[in-house]
Symmetry: C2
């Protein structure tokens, strides 16, 4: 993918000094990301592109209509996030742009996997279109695994090779997004082989996803096609992947802090050309308070990476892995997306330029992002049935007496890893009674795509002490998922989520106490970033008050139904033994 | 361009150790070109691909049908020549392969520019087809400038954007070859803009050609599209190109030794990721005696480059610049083109593997290259008119008396740079008489594509003391070019070249003394490499005996008609002032 100029002849004439260019940036410290040098430079910009960089200029700029004095600051390429789900920010693409551009992020490679699972092909088109004509680039990698694990859950869509063929024609589509079904790849399953073939046929690069990938597994996966991986969390993993020629997209999301482990792996290597930075999932409040890719950059510099190399990992390397030919450097022919930065360690972004236009300064957006209408944003994506209070009481099998044996999804301490434990619990009036055990909650997953599927069981160690927590963010099918102590609160949350078109909701004593409405696909809000950030913060507080004391209580429920994370999950189709890819009855033969 | 395996599932199964792979290479020193590390490794090969590299193996290979003991040697990727004209070797593609494979060259990126000018599109198809099914890859970049300078000369063909569109469909076509008309590019001339657009539309990378390229010219050319340049000979030039993000293909041809200058430019840079090696033009005798890309590699190591980085510049970097996704490394998913090498400084190639098969050992080819028939090889490309002795006497304009003013193409000392000098010379019996001046020769360029064009003039300082030198290798249109002292020798050479279908020929006293027959397009021979090398050596000796005392007398005549090299040239259309792109009369108004 190369961004084509409006008039190449004019750019060349400006480069040669035959015509005046739009402006020149003087008095800046220039880092050459190709050679590793630092020198003073004058950078000439015309019609959205860098046309010439004059090193060690001996005189004032020539042939420039205007001069911008950088005041001795660094001039750097705009940051490029190698892998992000915009949905995870809780903001629609234009709102996301308004939040990240002031942080110096002028390009993201985004995987609309979440809304793709909810609303299918049209949602990818929506993310593409809503992500266009903004003061940043939002390139699209087509979701590769919709649904994540066919047969174990039902999403709103299913993508096969023909979908890839169609979506690949969209102008900002550049890759196939994180190929999560890595077992499907290395086992050569038809679905993944066909999808990968379609992607390669359409000239897309293949983004990978290989958690706990080492040795022969990395080799096999690499042969399968994926070039990159952002799921690198264990010691030695980054080394194995880099040695095999993969790009390692070092991640710092709102949940996962992989940098220290990765840096420890790679810090002594002579070359780290294939190390990139990414955020994967960061929420609105976290972005506004702490930053986006700029935070990841600051953190890897703190760990000890040379700043110029860190900047390369946040600009040129992501561009190279994604095949973005003229992004990621301040060099002739490259799009004039650049930053003026006070210092590299603090990485304080003074000004952000996109396509040669100043779009943010001192953390403030300078450009209005027009509010456009999209059909997908108006669509209610929550198609779940009417339920009554009765439906939220867990009926024990007939004839089981006053005790019942039940398979309980059980959390380990402080981790999201789960297992299935068989327990014997009391039955009262024909219903399972958890009132005497503080660590137990009811859990329900309701298909929200009109299938009528519903799973109802028990979870131990989730952390909810009272009331109900419900969410339509529930990876990866995003069915309406509830965890609750009492049916009244569950019903209140359920009805509230249906009425606002999805989001996250908490209730206590049968009354809603907080709602984070995410009506776009049940995942995002089109409200201003500050508003969504404030709502997310309020929601986290509300959930903490119900007993969810982990760092990020918002996302505790979001992985309850994710059957690619070991070892036990609920989906809309039942209780899943993840490692066996099989269902386990809630009530075993009693 | 990604080389696809026959059965990806099987490769993945072999990587995982689920099935036995074809063989494993043990006891080798492995250089990781991604990380810069060296460690012992076992390399697993299956069905022509590397499936797994086990670092620091603690046990004997597992799941391998055979084991190859590398005897403690280095295992390295096969060398990749970033830019070469196979025609310049004087050998057809299969013969070229037989000569270079034992040197460890398993891939070249070739520009069939010479034969393209002679025989057009069908010649590119010929080079493509003849370069397929060999124990090496010969990828094709489509000649971009056929003819080099429209209007100043007439070639056998003319390529426009529609030719690019058609040729881009050939499976081994990967790029647009050296865009020589750099003024046409930066001036935005229609021809070059359309050709570049066609190349980009077809997903081809753009190979450049920018001699004496500095500063703003590099910027403008880079904006125009070309990514690489192998014409880097002056101090500071490599630095300017690398800084602008271009790949510098450091060249050592049989004529040009650019390495010392380039190395001096780049040796202190922190990063040299975009430095590649290439040969451009090397003749059969030079290849057999001294080597091909292996020689360039040895020489840059001698200059001081770290061997592992030099190897990267001869393997992974050329692959990256040309978009060859799974060539240039010994890594999972990469084609099993690799070498076993005794030591890095001497670079003694012990064994060469291509697609997992040993194809050369200790400098000897182990595989037969079948002799195939191609229509182009049978075609007589020399369509020049019958001429008589009279035609080789230079008639002075009528009425000029016994002296005539004439524009003489004049060589500087020891260089191929030329200028036009006006001289007054004696006329005898109506013909220009050079018998009294040892430094003058007649020069004639005869169009060999049936147009009837012919230019006849004088050259000073060429170096020929007696007899005649003639060649159908005459860049870039390859018209039949003669330099001679006496008409009898000229006629003998002319008729000999017509009768053998082209090549190089020397005569003295009216008799042919040596012929290097190159009947394939008048440029190449399908004879065995040793035979062509011996004939080239003999030809050089014969020309030396006629007074051509430079290092390579073979190519002295080959640039006489090349109107892109300053400042004066003969073409079939006349005497050219190169800088003015205009013709100058041989005889000014007398």
């Amino acid at each position: 993918m190369k961004i084509q100029p409006r008039n190449k002849r004019e750019l060349m004439a400006a480069a040669l000094g035959r015509i005046e260019c739009d402006f020149a940036v003087t008095n800046c410290r220039y880092l050459n990301l190709f050679t590793g040098e630092e020198y003073p430079a004058t950078v000439y910009i015309h019609d959205g592109f860098v046309v010439h960089v004059e090193p060690n200029p001996k005189s004032a700029p020539e042939k420039a209509k205007q001069v911008v004095d950088a005041g001795g600051r660094y001039i750097l390429p705009g940051l490029i996030d190698a892998h992000v789900h915009i949905e995870s920010s809780l903001m629609t693409p234009p709102v996301f742009a308004s939040a990240v551009v002031p942080h110096g992020v002028t390009c993201v490679i985004t995987d609309p996997h979440e809304i793709g699972n909810v609303l299918g092909e049209e949602a990818v088109v929506y993310m593409h279109d809503a992500g266009s004509d903004l003061p940043m680039y939002q390139f699209i990698d087509i979701p590769s695994c919709v649904p994540s694990v066919p047969g174990l859950e039902e999403a709103g869509a299913s993508f096969d090779a023909s979908v890839i063929d169609r979506l690949a024609k969209l102008p900002h589509v550049i890759g196939l997004a994180e190929v999560m079904d890595f077992l499907g790849v290395v086992d050569g399953e038809d679905r993944m082989m066909e999808i990968i073939d379609a992607a390669e046929r359409n000239g897309l690069y293949l983004q990978g996803h290989l958690p706990a990938g080492f040795g022969r597994l990395v080799s096999a996966y690499r042969i399968g096609g994926p070039l990159t991986c952002h799921e690198t969390g264990r010691p030695g993993e980054a080394l194995d992947k880099l040695r095999a020629g993969m790009y390692v997209d070092a991640r710092e999301s709102s949940m996962c802090y992989n940098l220290p482990t990765i840096w420890n792996d790679v810090k002594d290597l002579p070359w780290r050309d294939r190390l990139s930075l990414c955020t994967d999932d960061r929420e609105a409040d976290d972005i506004l308070a702490n930053g986006q890719l700029d935070l990841v950059l600051r953190n890897i510099i703190k760990l000890g990476m040379d700043p110029i190399e860190a900047i390369r990992a946040a600009t040129l390397h992501p561009a190279q892995e994604a095949g973005l030919e003229n992004l990621g450097a301040v060099a002739p022919g490259y799009v004039a997306n650049f930053l003026l930065v006070d210092d590299l360690e603090q990485f304080t972004v003074h000004a952000v330029y996109f396509e040669g236009r100043e779009v943010a300064r001192e953390g403030r957006l300078l450009t209005a992002i027009p509010r456009r209408q999209f059909a997908v944003e108006q669509k209610n994506s929550v198609n779940a049935p009417d339920l009554t209070l009765e439906d939220f009481r867990l009926r024990a099998p007939a004839g089981c007496g006053d005790r019942v044996r039940i398979n309980v999804l059980t959390y380990g301490d402080y981790t999201s890893l789960t297992r299935i434990e068989s327990e014997e619990l009391p039955v009262k009036d024909g219903f399972v009674d958890i009132s005497g055990d503080d660590e137990l909650c009811f859990a329900m997953v309701v298909n929200r795509y009109g299938t009528g599927n519903r799973t109802f069981g028990l979870v131990r160690g989730f952390g909810l002490a009272r009331g109900a927590d419900g969410s339509t963010i529930s990876h990866d099918c995003h069915n309406l998922t509830l965890v609750f102590r009492d049916p009244e609160s569950a019903l209140a949350v359920y009805n509230q989520l249906r009425s606002v078109g999805g989001g996250i909701c908490a209730a206590e004593n049968g009354k809603v106490v907080c709602t984070l409405a995410l009506p776009v696909g049940g995942l995002m809000s089109a409200d201003p970033a500050e508003q969504t950030a404030a709502a997310a913060t309020a929601m986290k507080q509300a959930l903490r008050e119900l007993g969810l004391e982990m760092t990020n209580p918002l996302l505790r429920i979001a992985t309850l139904a994710l059957p690619v994370v070991p070892a036990a999950k609920f989906t809309d189709l039942g209780l899943v033994d993840v490692m066996k890819k099989a269902f386990v009855p809630i009530f075993p033969e009693n």
